[in-house]
Symmetry: C2
Subunit: 481 residues, 2 copies
């Protein structure tokens, strides 16, 4: 009756589909010499039976074997639905002296929305791992992380048997300090990840050489916002994350971000927490795959001092210079680990650095970078390899800032990853006559930087994000395990 013209967009997408698939990513994992790993840690990864496929590792253990327990620090998701391992690890760190001896991680089950049983299971993992170190066994010397299916309880007997297989007297024990052992641990973190995420490096603070190793996992539900352990107990009225749940309905795979950083430098627990909070804000809290925050996001750092038993602890108050050197090493290392998650982002075909400069405050810069990094329109334009500054501008303008934005001071450029000249798209609010061939060349590369200068001050922040592809929709539109 009313002749509505259907635009061509409603044609079934057949020949016109942009079917760029994610590039190969396996090369982001490579061997690391044993000597670069930190001293005083033994680690492993094993299959305890949470995952069906016996070739897929699902339990990682990290023990600090230096005489003194390691200083520990953590940043936990700010999501109100905190999974049981988050609640338990927070309690472990709160009740002790800020030092632990081990980390236990499982994949395949997130132990989230699992009620009282979930909390009990997480504590059981802590106690079983404590018991591996017969000499120092005591409540709360282990922190715990979980990732995988949500709403299902852990097969806790299998998990405990897996942990016990690493007891000193057990022939199955294979905790070790070689690259091969670290790689097993990193593999045991994986869920939808396509490669294990493992890095190690050495660094010098106060004239001494130290080492750090890190592992993390994550590919979807990635937009972390993590803070240090809460000083107080959980909010009134919510002593446990939910009411008991003995029966388990069909589970839903629940991606998340988990990571740990282990160093053999001596650092006081307080300063390790300050440094980690600073580092996480500039690394894991500055990445986005899809804008969705998980209930399990956790980053844990241990510093066991095994490289220098005679050295004084690095401490913010006693030697600010040493502390800052350590903090900056930790931040750069955390950024490297965080970026691996974006590289492996579900369906990602691009790795994009969003750099916001000239903000009045760091929070302003961070908020603008976050908004650009989560804009569906910016991310689909990147997938379409389209130098669409209009969408970057609209995203920038939608963020309330502490100082009102003046459009006439805003400059937007693309910065190629190959070191060639940046391409201004908008200068002081005025669109440039962009060389479209050059623009296409830049956006066709896998790596790319979007730089926005606000002209309002001297603060800056970086965010790392990926594009939004068909693959992302496919993976997450057909995801139930």
């Amino acid at each position: 009756m009313f002749p509505v013209r259907l635009p061509s967009i409603w044609k079934r997408f057949t020949s016109t589909i942009i079917s760029r698939t994610p590039p190969p990513k396996a090369h982001h994992h490579a061997a690391i010499p044993d000597s670069v790993f930190p001293a005083g840690y033994v680690v492993t990864g094993l299959h305890c039976g949470i995952k069906k496929n016996p070739e897929q590792l699902d339990l990682a253990l990290i023990q600090s074997i230096s005489p003194q327990p390691a200083a520990a620090a953590a940043c936990f998701t700010r999501n109100a639905f905190k999974a049981a391992p988050v609640v338990v690890s927070e309690a472990v760190l709160r009740r002790g002296d800020g030092r632990v001896r081990a980390i236990v991680i499982n994949s395949g089950c997130a132990n989230a929305v699992t009620g009282k049983q979930g909390t009990e299971d997480a504590w059981a993992m802590v106690r079983a791992t404590d018991a591996l170190d017969e000499e120092h066994a005591g409540d709360g010397a282990t922190v715990v992380m979980s990732t995988g299916v949500i709403g299902q309880t852990l097969p806790i007997a299998k998990v405990l048997a897996g942990i016990q297989s690493q007891a000193l007297s057990t022939p199955t024990r294979n905790l070790g300090s070689t690259f091969e052992a670290w790689e097993r641990a990193a593999r045991a973190f994986m869920t939808t990840d396509t490669f294990p995420k493992l890095r190690a490096r050495n660094f010098i603070v106060g004239g001494r050489e130290y080492h750090m190793a890190g592992m993390d996992k994550g590919a979807g539900m990635i937009h972390p916002d993590m803070g240090p352990p809460r000083v107080a107990s959980t909010p009134a009225g919510s002593p446990s994350p939910s009411s008991p749940s003995s029966s388990s309905p069909a589970g839903q795979l629940h991606a998340t971000l988990l990571g740990c950083i282990l160093t053999d430098a001596p650092v006081s627990p307080r300063s390790l927490q300050s440094a980690l909070t600073y580092a996480v804000d500039r690394s894991f809290n500055s990445i986005s795959v899809d804008g969705d925050m998980s209930t399990n996001d956790t980053i844990i750092a241990l510093a066991n001092g095994a490289a220098a038993a005679d050295a004084h602890e690095i401490d913010e108050e006693h030697n600010r210079g040493e502390y800052e050197a350590f903090r900056d090493e930790l931040t750069a290392f955390a950024a490297e680990l965080a970026q691996l998650v974006v590289r492996d982002g579900e369906g990602a075909t691009k790795f994009v650095t969003v750099s916001v400069e000239g903000a009045a405050t760091y929070a302003d810069a961070h908020n603008v970078a976050s908004r650009i990094s989560t804009s569906a329109l910016v991310k689909t334009a990147l997938y379409g390899e389209d130098a669409n500054w209009g969408r970057i501008l609209a995203a920038t303008g939608s963020v309330p800032l502490s100082v009102p934005l003046d459009p006439a001071r805003v400059t937007v450029s693309f910065v190629p990853a190959d070191g060639s000249a940046p391409l201004p798209l908008l200068v002081n609010g005025e669109p440039e006559n962009v060389d479209e061939v050059r623009a296409k060349e830049i956006v066709s590369a896998e790596d790319l930087q979007i730089k926005v200068e606000l002209g309002l001050g001297f603060e800056a922040a970086k965010y790392w994000t990926c594009d939004l592809s068909y693959e992302y929709v496919r993976i997450n539109g057909d995801y139930r395990s």
Copy 2:
């Protein structure tokens, strides 16, 4: 070297693709009896030459022809990059007595990021439309809206000639008050819209019958946040949205939300603004297609009193009851218009109402509903027809609230649109043993409601959103005009 198992997700998506295409939408447009349209308005839509295809209308005119000018109210985008028509309309409303005689709208060019020339062009459209009403011609009796390509200046001579074709003495004049005239106007709003969005209804306030008609447009870059005209001038240092830009680089189609609501009820300008601000917050500010806020979003309301020259004006202070009756009519009507935009959302195959109840404040409820409505994981699960409460929960928990969330009080259900029984997914924080067949049935319907009860108070808010499909990625990954 390192055998990295690539999961099957990296296979090219061929046979496994979920290729559900958007359902037909043309039936959302249908004839309306002439008698339902408000008295005292003449309208038209025409092709002035902004769009290349001469069959595509690109200029709409709405004139109020009652003796007194109409009370006017507006809500404009809070984006810092306000397009020229937003800045000019805001100035028109600020400088006058809150009354105007006409609205002029063009599609095909957003007149955004067009510098001083853009502002001059928007003012020229205002003056040319003023001049159509020779008796009352004067600066600032017209408000203006634009949508289309960003970063290009208007072909202003064509636009002005189009406006002048509607002068009283001109044979081409076809301003009218029939459905056919209103439909032409609604069509002239369209850019990527697949059907014109036009509604009209009658309503009774204070025992008298009045009418309202509304038109809007939008399909992508839809996540409006609009507020009333700013009292002060634009922020210091930004007298115009950007510096002059005479040359136009390649344009980028820039979706936006535009709408107008015209009534023949008599309403004081102040109360029309209060009612519109309230209505927009609960309608246009409560929809999301992709979470991206545009630089041009504008909703304008006129009330010319033509239905009751003898009646007193509806006014908040003089008769609160009448005012609230009018405000609620306006809110319901605005919600209907806003929902049409979600129906026509780019690539949308689902129309989803997100209802958040039991919040401590309206803002809390609105923020949670907004977050769920923009979650890429919730939206891809909807596209995949997957009853994934875990993603709804994670999105809910990621919103900072004025009262801390207690997971043990949260209940999540699916409410079918056909009136059949709701399906609880999570009750007081505990996952239900969901009947998967029934769940699949509900999520397979085109319309669906997600209901979240927070258990923290008595405030509620609704949001309307759609799913995230391949079509969305295709449209926006290959979008440049």
